[in-house]
Point group: C2
Chain length 211, copies 2
Amino acid sequence: MNELLYNITGRNLEKLMLYLEANSLFFKKNTAILSNLLDENVICLLISGKVQIIKNDFNGNQVIMEILEKNAIFGTTIFGINNSDYEIKTLEDSKIVIIDFNNIISNTANTVYTDQFLKNLLKFTAHKIKENNERIEILTCKTIRNKLLAYFKQMAKSSNSRVIYLPYSLTRLADYLAVDRSAMSRELKNLKDEGFIEIKDKKIKLKYNDY
Amino acid sequence: MNELLYNITGRNLEKLMLYLEANSLFFKKNTAILSNLLDENVICLLISGKVQIIKNDFNGNQVIMEILEKNAIFGTTIFGINNSDYEIKTLEDSKIVIIDFNNIISNTANTVYTDQFLKNLLKFTAHKIKENNERIEILTCKTIRNKLLAYFKQMAKSSNSRVIYLPYSLTRLADYLAVDRSAMSRELKNLKDEGFIEIKDKKIKLKYNDY
DNA sequence: TTCTTGTTGTTGCAATTGCAACATTTATAT
DNA sequence: ATATAAATGTTGCAATTGCAACAACAAGAA
């Protein structure tokens, strides 16, 4: 179940979709979607299938930003897909519900289900803000070492442990930190050699105190 | 009027505050606030006065992150004030309304005024996400030049013009881009010398085509 | 298995950057 | 008006980084 539809079922769900003028669309595999909506302000629920977000950087090469699975939530303006540098494409046949953000804000229904939907969405946006702020905190560090340490600090805090597990590959971590992978690899080695951390696969143990 | 209270007045406003268990607190000038709430999830409305957000960086020096005026909205977890590195302090006698985010999400009132409040807050969070995404887009550029160009591009897009006006000082711009001020100054000079831009005070004219 | 694709570690080198320091100018407060 | 604080421009230099290239390895598909 999509988190935006938490606690909304059956007849209420139907009424909600009607009220928000939600469009349920079906896209074939490898279809570009939203290309005509990039200047709108829409929220999309991926009901089934798989979708990827691609960015065309200024050199002309395409970078895969994210791959979204069932129940993912994505969108345009408010979710970072600002402009024509981006492309959204299905990787599999996909069913997507598209909702205009303005319909959410301007509806005057004030029913149990619209209320629940607003709360669900608010929870989602609040979480998104937290994620973004955490990344910004890291990205504003001036050196790769400090970026890594800031990242470790956040991970340690959220898991409440000085042993942390990388949720994805080092290659993707380098993307997340917005640094060169090989330079990050070098810096990880330095931290290891200097005794600050121990790494084994995706497990990192912090050996300093003030993390 | 605070934007979170848009379209909520009089008796409804009173009822809303009651329902959300909002606390209206008064703080003397130069008082640390929220220090006991940093692990909670609260939203604060600055009704009157002035407040600053300070970050203690790892070198021990304090950086003023933001100065907030009347009607500002700030908070803890969901608004980036994650941990003990931050301090929030009044610069003047200030009146602040504090609302627990959980009370917003979990209330079951479903009235005209709670509904309006949810929409107002949602609008605010959506805007915040957009701002954050824009900044992240800039911060992930690998060189100062590319950061500047990405920033210019966004400014040009939002003002729909290739003449843009910096909303704040170059010193603060350097902070926003998370680069050294003097290095940024050097790069601005390069862009100027190479004929890509013209700068006069806070006015920048973009002289290249694919912005 | 074999092929393909993606991840990781490593290193030399050139380019970029942060840092420190200083002079000027501009803004703000008294 | 004068003093104080903040913003800007500039530069040398050392440190950090991105980039390119390659080898080794792992994972997954055919």
